[in-house]
Symmetry: C2
Subunit: 148 residues, 2 copies
DNA sequence: CATAATTTTGAAAATGAATTTCAATTTCTT
DNA sequence: AAGAAATTGAAATTCATTTTCAAAATTATG
């Protein structure tokens, strides 16, 4: 399964979501979705709108905003809020659950996943009788570049 | 060390903070701080203002808001934002660092601390060359009451 | 293909929590 | 007591997010 196939898989996923929900597929949505699934990292609606706007002067912020919401609803994007209180979107294309390291100097957001940690979380919650549906774990500090 | 002593310790702490910063101590601040240090749980500025306002009609929201900020700056309160994107304040009176379980049905916020988990976090960050200054860990799901 | 029905678009307006402004008041220092 | 400096609080502002609404685009139907 290469990256190209994966993207079209995702587009199919969204198309069936759109159909199920009685929505219509449009030129704007196609462009936004295609661009988004190719985008790495964690972008705000504003940032992503600016990127789209470079090539597509006729696509408005509101549509970009709404399409990102749609992607999140359909499960193709993750919506996240870090300490700066801005909502960011991340493509879930080929990504599985992971947590984040956020550098307070350069602002870089890097990702990590540790199964032992994840298992431990479930175990702790279990002992407290709490059923975890999802969790948020973020480390704030200095990345390897900035700590020097 | 009983609770009463602890409260006055904290007030001393704040007083010296106020002095060091060249601030003044006022009737309003005294009332707000005293009330806050007695408050359990995680309150928004708005909620806490309403509580203060019951007995003190002449203390404004802005002053409550600013005093909570001051408490956070001085280290006597923790400022936190959970998934609903509201800023909450928690008294650190007799509390040490802990993480949160947030029930998505009843909204209850409970606390837990697990040293093994905390140690593991530091270790993971270390391996990635990341220097943790602070972290955020929240579990979202159903509390033991609501999962039934 | 034409028409109707429904959804989408996007500029502009609204929302709402957080923050700032500023004139009047209070506190602190001398 | 007077002056300097900080605080107060109502109102205004900010700013990301969300909603509104009329025009345009898409889909369904005949
Ligand atoms: Zn960095
Ligand atoms: Zn990520
Ligand atoms: Zn509950
Ligand atoms: Zn807490």
């Amino acid at each position: 399964m290469n990256r190209q196939e994966s993207i079209s898989d995702k587009k199919e996923h969204l198309k069936s979501f759109i159909k199920t929900k009685g929505l219509k597929s449009t030129r704007q949505r196609d462009i936004i979705v295609t661009e988004f699934l190719k985008t790495e990292g964690h972008v705000t609606a504003e940032e992503f709108y600016r990127k789209i706007n470079r090539r597509h002067k006729n696509i408005g912020f509101t549509t970009v905003y709404r399409t990102l919401k749609l992607l999140a609803e359909s499960g193709l994007a993750a919506e996240q809020v870090f300490a700066d209180n801005l909502t960011r979107y991340e493509s879930l294309l080929g990504e599985e659950h992971h947590d984040h390291l956020i550098c307070q100097k350069c602002g870089s957001i890097t990702e990590f996943k540790d199964n032992k940690l994840e298992n431990m979380q479930v175990k702790i919650a279990d002992e407290l009788g709490f059923q975890i549906l999802n969790h948020k774990m973020e480390f704030y500090g200095y990345c390897s570049n900035c700590r020097k």
